[in-house]
Symmetry: C2
Subunit: 529 residues, 2 copies
């Protein structure tokens, strides 16, 4: 029953793409791009991985829940961004943490923080390890070593209050683990980031993860009623409240702290009854700008669709949702009310901008057909990280970046991103493919999400990737967009994050860190320092 | 055209209740309560006010925009809570600030902060002066004196972007002032706290004010896209973004900072097109618990009513909305879509709990009648602070307190509040009246708002009031409710706020203050210290 997590690639080894799927993927990319790809690389083997000897011995006070086993350390060396895959494939685990602790209680979390603080050991809070921003990759320069604090043994739904739709959940619960427990109560957190299977509640809160809903509840932030965080100076817990105006929100300082201030051990979350009414549609557009205008109007309508995902035609094609058109996937859902009117209104707004629903006037039939498009998208969505892993073995650079921007700046941003990223891919790879979708939308602007593909050059892959990532980040930054809408800052986005945040806020955050983590051992290099 | 603001009571002297209205109010209270009230007191006169001589001379660098005039200082000595009215009526202006500065630019704000920091002068940012929590009342103990920084000269809407529904607005704009400027663009901020006419955008942001919408956009927090704050260490400004996941939100540290970290000089706000579709209804209940159950269901339905205000029967009576029933005022509104379906669904949910709409099956007729109830409520709502001022002159203690609590704890909280406050009123005043309404509702709980009335005893009024306020605050605290949902903390709520917030958060906030305001001159005693 226990699946084996890959020590280097996305997800479970048991769910890796088969050789047939890899061949199909290779064929698809070849067909779409015309690139001649090298022969598929063999899957890497752990026997070939180079994991340095630990710099630390396991201390007696952590011995019961700590290991220095090489495979455990290799698996937690990197997140799962594209450069992580490449280095993992190459067997380079030089930044491996020295020890992996898996605390089973807050007392054990505190013991680990105390030990790290006393012995100048960097402590990296670790959930599902799905960071794409080097959020868990810590070389521990200036420290005696690095302790990875894997929280996944603290994974229980501790309490459920159906009347308030509240659930108290431990920070180490992976998505499927907490959903299975909530399902026993006919409830759901309904937070489905692409990393769902390999990310935890604590990780979502620490990184302000983006989830299922396209509007209204876009980040995990909106689902938090109170948080409990253990710091080197003790625990901090806010009251379980539906709302408050008593001073600045303590929770909002925890949200986005990325393991630099403390370890999120549990939270009271706002959960949902499982929706039973759903209405979905796919609207097709021939012009991207028309589709954008439609999404603008729907986002400002206060109809609050659960899903409002615009795929440009490349994105739609790569995910086999449509061939030749830009597609807007709309979804409304409710536990109490039929959603057809909301959907019909949104469709009407989309059609006013030239959108077309492909299946004619029958609502029943439309729902059936559009659901197929949505399901095809959904399945592609959760398989995408596996596909990225497979692409890395096929000599293809495949990665994503995302942002949010006000509507009035989107057109200029988008043009600049397309121009800069394509020029850089041309430069470093002789060409490439760039697609765009909107993952979330606000009345004041969209959250565009870009995917890029280009051929890797042996021995130059990381260099190529870095050039493209830098071009993309520079374009976001000079257009006033955020360096991340929901992928977090980590170590990768630091240069642009430092430009984005007010300098005085950085100083204030530094003062907060000094107060909570005076030894400065928590996830050094992330956000600060 | 310029109206004269009262130096002691709510609002403009020109809009004070007339003698006739005062007599009617006295009659109404006498009729409802049976109390024999003393003869109405004469309105206080400024000639009788005791304003101490200023401890500070106007410095040359602030002279262009600073005054020490007694009336200006008296007017800004207190907020407009009940004890403020009593002391104002008594002519006691002993905590008057020494100087009133009215900066016209950020440079002048900075100059005032620099001068205060250099000369150990407490600086109190001041908007409309409507605080009910002693948020602007600063005696300046340990300081050379107190400078009140009145921001209302910086009151312009500087920029409007219709495409994104963004407006850049200066912090000193009073509600009507900014709405008049937005109306030129057919836009509205739609933030209508009861203090609307006498509170500013900067004050709303600093205190996390609660506004028009009962759901979804309850606090000003939700309408902020970015904030600019001037601190003694310089300016801090976030990017104008629809959303972001880049580290902890800088804006969320400003929201609720109550003038202790800096001065909010401007903000990019999310504005709305003016709604043209409205559907309203009043639903009547004979049992309060049934009405609460109905609101619970509606709050969890994701119908997102703009208004969902439950008045208990005392509240409905005192505001002449209904006599003998508890009333749920429902309102849906939209700039784009007819709202009847949403309203009908909410009404159906309310009727399932025994609610009744009084006018039978015709929708048109219902809308007409219910609108009358809603309008009667709205007019009473904005007149209430004037009424409180008049009641103070009629020998009646009249005040409010408010909170938020999860549904599962509401019944126990409500019973405890009613028991404790009534017992205390019995004790100190021989009896009193307590009413309750919900101002905002969340899926996980309501924001109950209480009004209490009891007879004042000459010379004992402040003592009586303090006993009742303490009993109420203790009841909120021991039931795990927040000490304030949208009235802020100020100096009044400090003891209970200190219990509510995590100790480590207090330490972190102190470190932030030390970073931004190293001389500690900004609004000392509020939130911290």
């Amino acid at each position: 029953m226990t699946k084996t997590r890959s020590y280097w690639g996305w997800g479970y080894e048991d769910e890796f793409p088969t050789e047939t799927e890899r061949a199909e993927l290779r064929g698809l990319v070849g067909m779409v791009t015309g690139w001649s790809l090298p022969a598929p690389a063999a899957w890497p083997r752990f026997e070939d991985a180079r994991v340095p000897a630990p710099r630390l011995a396991i201390p007696a006070e952590l011995a019961e829940f700590t290991t220095a086993a090489p495979r455990a350390r290799a698996t937690r060396t990197y997140g799962r961004g594209f450069p992580d895959l490449i280095r993992g494939m190459q067997g380079d685990f030089s930044p491996a943490p020295d020890l992996i602790a898996q605390p089973r209680s807050e007392a054990e979390v505190s013991a680990a923080l105390a030990w790290g603080s006393a012995h100048n050991v960097a402590v990296v809070p670790y959930g599902g390890g799905s960071s794409v921003v080097a959020g868990v990759e810590c070389r521990g320069e200036g420290f005696a070593g690095v302790l990875c604090l894997d929280m996944t043994a603290m994974d229980q739904v501790l309490e459920v209050i159906p009347e308030t739709l509240h659930a108290r959940i431990q920070g180490g619960a992976l998505g499927p683990v907490l959903e299975a427990q909530l399902a026993e109560h006919d409830l759901t957190l309904r937070h489905f980031p692409q990393s769902f299977a390999h990310s935890t509640l604590g990780g979502w809160i620490a990184t302000r993860a983006g989830g299922h809903f396209a509007t209204n509840y876009t980040h995990i932030d909106d689902l938090v009623s109170s948080v409990r965080m253990v710091t080197p100076q003790g625990a901090w817990e806010s009251r379980r409240l539906p709302g408050s105006g008593a001073g600045p929100s303590p929770d909002r300082l925890v949200l986005g702290s990325e393991g630099t201030l403390g370890v999120i051990t549990e939270a009271w979350m706002r959960v949902f009854p499982r929706p039973i009414h759903r209405s979905k549609a796919a609207v097709h557009f021939s012009e991207f700008s028309a589709a954008v205008a439609a999404v603008h109007d729907i986002a400002q309508s206060r109809l609050f669709p659960a899903n409002c995902r615009l795929l440009d035609k490349r994105e739609a094609m790569l995910n086999q949702v449509a061939f030749g058109s830009h597609v807007l996937l709309l979804g409304f859902e409710s536990a109490t009310h039929n959603q057809r009117q909301g959907l019909d209104r949104a469709i009407a707004m989309a059609c006013a901008h030239g959108g077309a629903v492909e299946d004619g006037p029958s609502h029943t039939e439309r729902t059936r057909i559009e659901t197929a498009a949505a399901e095809s998208w959904r399945s592609a969505f959760f398989r995408a990280p596996y596909r990225q892993t497979a692409l890395a073995t096929l000599g293809v650079i495949a990665d994503t970046f995302e942002t949010a921007i006000p509507w009035d700046r989107f057109e200029a941003l988008h043009a600049d991103v397309v121009r800069s990223v394509k020029a850089t891919m041309q430069d470093v790879a002789g060409g490439g493919l760039l697609s765009c979708r909107f993952t979330h939308v606000y009345p004041d602007g969209p959250a565009p999400y870009y995917t890029f593909l280009c051929p890797a050059r042996t021995g130059k892959t990381l260099h190529q990737w870095r050039a493209i990532k830098t071009a993309a980040s520079e374009a976001l930054s000079r257009n006033g967009a955020t360096i991340t809408h929901h992928h977090a800052v980590g170590r990768l986005h630091r240069p642009w994050y430092d430009q984005q945040r007010p300098d005085l806020f950085a100083a204030a955050l530094g003062a907060v860190k000094q107060t909570l983590d005076p030894a400065g051992v928590l996830n050094p290099g992330v956000l600060l320092g």
